[in-house]
Amino acid sequence: MTTPNPLLHVQDLSVVYRAGEGAIHAVQDVTLSLERGRSLGLVGESGSGKSTVAAAILRLLPENARITSGSIVFDGTDLAELSDRNLDRLWRWRQLAIVFQRSLSALSPVHRVGHQLDDVLKLREPGLTEAQRQERIVGILRAVRLPDRVLRAYPFELSGGMMQRTMIALALLCTPPFLILDEATTALDVITQAEILREMERLRAEFELTTLVISHDVGVINAIADSVAVMYAGQLMEVAPKERFFSAPAHPYSKALIASVPRLRGQSGRLTGIPGTLPELHNPPPGCRFAPRCPHAMPRCSAAPPPLYQIAPRHTVRCVLYDQHPEQRP
């Protein structure tokens, strides 16, 4: 399923980690499409491979990881084909940026925040004068609603929320069209998280961003994504517009995921988990990787990975339960 002229199209991406004697197949044949100006939420539990997809797109994979197949086409260019130098100079930060999960050392602890922001801007836009850089930085700080004094502060002096806003400001420095948020709100308390998510919505409109939002929290996805893609154990299971995803999830795993979120209102019921455990990714099951835990599993599920079936406009699901539909995978 491809939308016409997507900003980013990832096709059949596979990533393998070398670990000790074996190999971990962290991502297998993942296909994603991001329309300009829209937000795609990539959801899955820990170990689903979603952060690996982000790292692969930005070529930030660790030494022992390799992209074994697939293409990453950004605005017409296959990023995988670019040299490191070109990717650094022309694409990084100016076209693609990322905000990571909050960490104590996301910036150098012994240098002031302003110095580091200025350094990155100087690196990526050497044509600007110091005054112009300062103007841009202050402007972005205003946009993310941070006070100017943040510039003279050290990272440890900032609260969690302020630190994340700073990282968002850093990401927007070169006004890139595409932004990845990788568990950007996970380490924040719920109140701050809600604030940041609201800010992101506003910034998305203001900067005309296309975003890929990665989270294990379906609530976050619900808050700021237009479409949802579900990953499990390295495989893509379902892609759907948000409303359809939450009202009529197709894949058994998606249903279980949504059902497992505890409700604050309504009837009190039991917490529903998903029985079973993640598969070993050294030796992944040959077919659908969810089959061992799936209540609807059939023999053919484990034989080969099911194809993607289109069940509605923009709604695809990798599950043989939907084989009855006349339209097959394009």
Partner: protein, 321 residues
């Protein structure tokens, strides 16, 4: 910053005091009768010895002697050497420049060299450079400095004749001016090399470990995502973070610059405080020995204080919390 330093002083001052007390205690526990020694062991009569004892106040009760000791210390009086019959402080100040020249130079070279090599190894772990340097660092750290000095003398001075075997100057040549300095430098090579070789490993290991740890920090990933080249990330950010532990160790090692390297000075007959120490030990010249020890306690405390100041200046997390 002020509060931080205040806390540090709270530890250092009692420690200094403890060192003074230990000094005083040892002075009095040491065998031998100071009055007899000052009066002249073999020739003085009992009456003269008693007179000396009274004159020096050695028959006063201990607390009185201790207070007097403190007063004298405050005036810079470290006592009179048994063997040389001169004030201890004078003897120490005489020898200090020679020691400082040797230990100061080697400390700086060891620090800079160790840090550079450690950073290079830390950025390329498991490479041949890293593995060979690490093996060498273990080996040199295990070598006793005095033995290494002997070995260097044997090979480079005795067998090859490239350098003098001992001393700080060629006394017979009587050089002046810049030639004299060259002569000193020539004599300095082997002892400095000895000290550098045994001190470099610690700076190397700490820097290497620190650099390896910094490479794993999140800000490195952040800057990589912006396309910043590895070299720039290292030079502008990682190096400063990584150097903090090394600077601490260097600062502490400066405390030993004044009195350290005693064993190496002895091997090379370097006219510094080390030789003085050995003399004091063998002649049981307790005032001199303990004067040197006290000097060491003071310089170590000062070095610690200075290091704390520098560290706080480098690491905002320390001074602003």
């Amino acid at each position: 910053m002020g509060r931080y330093l205040g806390r540090q002083l709270l530890t250092i001052i009692p420690t200094l005091f403890l060192s003074i007390v230990i000094n005083f205690a040892l002075l009095h526990l040491a065998p031998g009768d100071p009055a007899r020694i000052y009066a002249g062991q073999d020739i003085a009569t009992e009456a003269q010895i008693e007179a000396t004892r009274r004159a020096l106040g050695l028959d006063d009760p201990l607390p009185v002697q201790f207070l007097r000791y403190l007063k004298e210390l405050a005036q810079g009086n470290l006592g009179i050497s048994f063997a040389y019959r001169r004030p201890v402080l004078d003897l120490i100040l005489d020898r200090m420049p020679a020691t400082l020249l040797l230990t100061g130079t080697s400390a700086v070279i060891a620090f800079v060299g160790g840090a550079l090599l450690g950073a290079a190894a830390g950025r390329r772990t498991m490479s041949r450079l890293d593995l060979s340097l690490s093996f060498l660092s273990y080996t040199f750290f295990a070598i006793p400095a005095f033995w290494l000095g002997l070995l260097l003398i044997l090979i480079f001075a005795s067998k090859l004749g490239w350098f003098p075997t001992s001393g700080m100057r060629d006394v017979r040549a009587g050089y002046t001016g810049w030639r004299a300095w060259l002569d000193v430098a020539h004599h300095m090579v082997l002892p400095t090399l000895t000290l550098v070789l045994v001190q470099m490993p610690i700076f190397y290991r700490i820097t290497r470990a620190s650099v390896v740890q910094q490479q794993r920090e999140d800000y490195v990933t952040t800057f990589r995502a912006t396309g910043m080249p590895h070299g720039r990330i290292f030079r502008r950010y990682a190096m400063r973070n990584a150097l903090l532990p090394t600077v601490t160790v260097f600062g502490l090692s400066l405390g030993f610059v004044v009195t350290g390297a005693a064993l190496v000075e002895i091997v090379f007959a370097w006219p510094g405080i080390g030789r003085l120490t050995l003399d004091a030990v063998f002649r049981r010249d307790y005032p001199l020995l303990l004067g040197i020890y006290l000097l060491l306690a003071v310089t170590v405390s000062l070095a610690i204080l200075l290091t704390d100041i520098v560290y706080a200046a480098l690491d905002p997390r320390i001074r602003l919390r």
